[in-house]
Symmetry: C2
Subunit: 168 residues, 2 copies
């Protein structure tokens, strides 16, 4: 007689619950955030991520296209498109990298920083109401501690869609 549940066949209900809760929360949160960004800053979520990364995370305000794409979990062609929009709007500037003629360096402009600054308060407000309201401070901490290792694990594991070009 086989064991009740051969650990490699089905997920138990706890796992399923965590999986669906995770995906649902992320989906709902993204919708909420997207709407606020659209209303207050005419930005898509991706554009916000890009600007925020450049304006807040990067000391120089610049990054290579590829690094941006990887950081934001996004296809390269999609990034080209969005960077084009941001450039047309005057929020970033693109220039060929000095040291490597192939790569393009994207840099936030002052206008870009201004947009981020304008949008942030409302963004934070949405997060508070939607994500943090039902969680105590300690639970927020727990959540971060739980998910950070998962992210690191996933980023190191290959299954990235835009991964290394396949050897032929």
């Amino acid at each position: 007689m086989p064991k009740p549940t051969p650990a490699s066949d089905a997920l138990d209900s706890v796992q399923l619950g965590a999986y669906f809760a995770l995906m649902d929360v992320a989906g709902l949160l993204r919708h909420a955030v997207e709407q606020q960004l659209r209303d207050e800053g005419d930005l898509s979520y991706v554009q916000f991520q890009l600007l925020a990364r450049l304006a807040l995370d990067s000391p120089t305000g610049s990054e290579r296209m590829t690094d941006l794409a990887d950081g934001v979990v996004y296809s390269r062609s999609g990034l080209t498109y969005q960077a084009g929009l941001l450039e047309k709007a005057g929020l970033v500037v693109r220039a060929p990298s000095p040291d490597d003629e192939r790569s393009v360096t994207v840099t936030v402009t002052d206008a870009g920083r201004a947009v981020i600054a304008r949008v942030i308060p409302g963004h934070v407000e949405v997060l508070r109401q939607q994500l943090f309201a039902p969680l105590s401070g300690a639970k927020v901490q727990e959540l971060g501690d739980l998910l950070a290792p998962v992210r690191d694990h996933m980023r190191s594991a290959p299954p990235r869609s835009a991964g290394a070009r396949r050897k032929r």
Copy 2:
């Protein structure tokens, strides 16, 4: 001298960490899952969600379009499109609801159930490797417990994009 951080202005680093970790993990996981579904069953993530909901969660194998859209966090027009594809592929059937002539009832076919059954093992495998590998059983439980209330909170709070039609 002002307080270190006026609680209504910025998020602390713990909150930011949790927020970004959540969104990153969900994004990465979705990519991984999407690829597996495409490879093994020619399904998009949304199509999988729809089929799974009908085949596994619904006693009758049927649901109204609107309930499906709400359950899956999806626009109504998008659902119409995807339901059309699934119907063309023979995985679901659409029929006007008996009691309310306006609404359409979607029902999985045997072929639909077969596809789900075929895809599930690989799906589970991806989840194991990507999401659950770095988490102990207890932590999976914690994660679910943390996120379930958040989901409920968000689902009840209005900011759904396809929310109630605005009063004029």
